[in-house]
Subunit: 343 residues, 2 copies
DNA sequence: TTCTATTCCTAACACGTGTTAGCAATGGAT
DNA sequence: ATCCATTGCTAACACGTGTTAGGAATAGAA
């Protein structure tokens, strides 16, 4: 298959120097003085042979892999929701600039020990980004406490975590102000996951508090749990609107859920936005092309991914972070799925 | 950070045997006879110390990485289209079962040499899956000709490629039969990319031929090029419907394009499906929740990813493939975005 | 007892790299 | 002529693993 590989030994022989010299030249070592002439001879020999250092040899001696792991808590979310790909793109972009590689792994990979052990203990990666971490993930917490370079996109509410999140409170307040300003009083919510997930709990709490600011409440029976997919959003909305037909505005846990909600509403004859207003979360690319275009909260997944990668690189280079927890301020994007409450 | 790592040497010392014995036990080598007792002692010592072999050491001596590369030709497509994540999920799932890892890389990564050189020459991966390969990608073709284990999801039309694709012809014929059967005669198309992309060209050609079977044609000015995003679909459809208001049915290059087309149609007052029928491609998860639910062609991205991974594993294990080119038969899914032609 | 066969294990090498201590050679100063 | 400083390079080790040829110990046969 492959004609025998080119090693630094071959380059050395061709350039008429020792293997050590080759390594010194190619790694631009400043500590050792080499003649300009030798440098060039080695460079040329390397170029002619098309020499690429074997990464395993390098990893072994340096202990560094130039690879980061991206652990996706539940890879099946990849199937239904477009949020993680946004984050992945942001990470990949940053890694490309740094010359790093990205290893993508689902959490349950490689036995019950989880992906962490396998990736970290076998020294396959220098650092780790975890998207949508679960607060109860003990293996992850243990990694954080060992001070292994982990950056979360999300949070496990651990004092020493390094994470990039967004402030739920501000954006949800803006959305509630908007919806209540349109005259809505009976408001419901469809979550994108069961409760217990940090993000879902945070969004519900922010919603409750923002409603209270207006003297309104989020009734217990006005909340229905979804399960990541548009399908679950459809089912949840159908159940909720049957139970509480008086509700005039719905907050969807995210845009994917919102698609299902929108469809369910139309299916049972509620016109959106005339009879029912809907607010999404994330502002995924399709949100503005739905019928009607979705009012939603823009969470900037790409930016989150890029920032997470940059924070990780800083840790790997032992550069101090000015801030262990970056918190983005999402923005409300008003489109046409929200309108004045029916009179 | 990390308390000194556990090596096979530590395990050997604890079990009172040599390092070689540890290696033999842990790799279940049958060729050398070891006493049951020694085996157990080593296993226990390894377990107690939490020994995980260093992957770099292993890679170096075995030449195998237990890692495959996933190269995404244009990672920005990740942002706008949900198709690649489906494939990624299928690949990740298969890899999980095999205990392999997945390295995801954009094509332009790591300098103009492309991602291939960097991944392959530096021996970071055992094999490669390329999604949406470009036919003109010389670095890729060269890799195929060197017989490096590559599996394409898509095709570069190279005689010795190993690929998983789907038959465009059959499904498009079914879709055309369906649409023409509804009485449509003036039919247009919005591509998901410029021409020159293998998939786009194939879909257009299949569309033309299928229309000819019914004595109809695909007019040159009834085709408009999109550029992966829903936004481009919207723009293209707006232009096309302005130029050819007589068109009553539109084939979108994929579902993401279809979202934009749907929105554009409604924006200029064409009711879907009453005034205009729309057919998508891929059957992404959101397709059935659009308003109206999208008639589309189901391409099974997850299955493609899984099959590609399995074919790659077969190659890596030097198992002969019964078929170098797996060709799936996609299925037409009729929903409500297609209806009888307006009279 | 001596020789051979068998069982169990280990010494030693190989994989390809980065890095440090130190060797030759040269030139300048005493 | 001798000594020292500098320049330019390399020998040798380390990283952690898998594997093969062969050594020690035991058992069985002559």
């Amino acid at each position: 298959m492959n004609s025998t590989r080119v090693t630094s030994h071959d380059v050395a022989r061709r350039a008429g120097v020792s293997r050590a010299t080759v390594s010194l030249v190619l790694n631009r070592s400043e500590s050792v003085v080499l003649s300009k002439e030798t440098r060039e001879r080695v460079m040329q020999a390397a170029a002619e042979l098309g020499y690429k250092p074997n990464s395993a040899g390098r990893m072994l001696v340096s202990g560094l892999t130039e690879t980061i792991g991206l652990v996706v808590s539940d890879p099946s979310i990849l199937l239904v929701d477009q949020y993680i790909p946004q984050v992945l793109y942001g990470i990949e972009k940053a890694n490309r600039e740094m010359g790093f590689h990205v290893l993508v792994e689902g959490l349950e990979a490689h036995g019950k020990g989880g992906a962490y052990d396998n990736l970290v203990e076998s020294r396959r990666i220098d650092g780790l980004i975890v998207v949508n971490p679960r607060a109860g993930d003990e293996a992850l917490v243990s990694l954080i406490e060992k001070n292994f370079p982990v950056v979360l996109v999300g949070s496990v509410r651990h004092p020493s975590e390094v994470s990039v999140t967004f402030s739920t409170r501000g954006a949800i307040k803006a959305a509630v102000d908007h919806v209540v300003g349109l005259g809505h009083k009976r408001i419901g919510a469809i979550t994108f996951s069961s409760r217990g997930f940090v993000a879902t709990d945070a969004r519900l709490r922010a919603l409750e508090r923002s409603l209270q600011d207006h003297g309104l409440s989020l009734d217990e029976d006005a909340v229905q749990e979804g399960d990541f997919s548009a399908e679950s959003g459809h089912a949840a909305a159908t159940a909720l609107l049957r139970r509480r037909p008086d509700i005039t505005a719905l907050f969807a846990g995210n845009d994917t859920i919102a698609i299902g909600v929108l469809n369910a509403a139309q299916e049972i004859g509620r016109r959106v936005p005339d009879d029912l207003s809907i607010v999404g979360f994330d502002d995924l690319p399709f949100a503005r092309w739905l019928t009607p275009p979705l009012t939603t909260i823009k969470t900037e997944g790409v930016q989150q991914g890029t920032i997470a990668a940059q924070m990780l690189f800083a840790r790997l280079n032992h550069r101090p972070l000015e801030n262990n927890r970056v918190r983005l301020e999402p923005e409300l994007v008003v489109r046409r799925s929200t309108a004045p409450a029916p009179s």
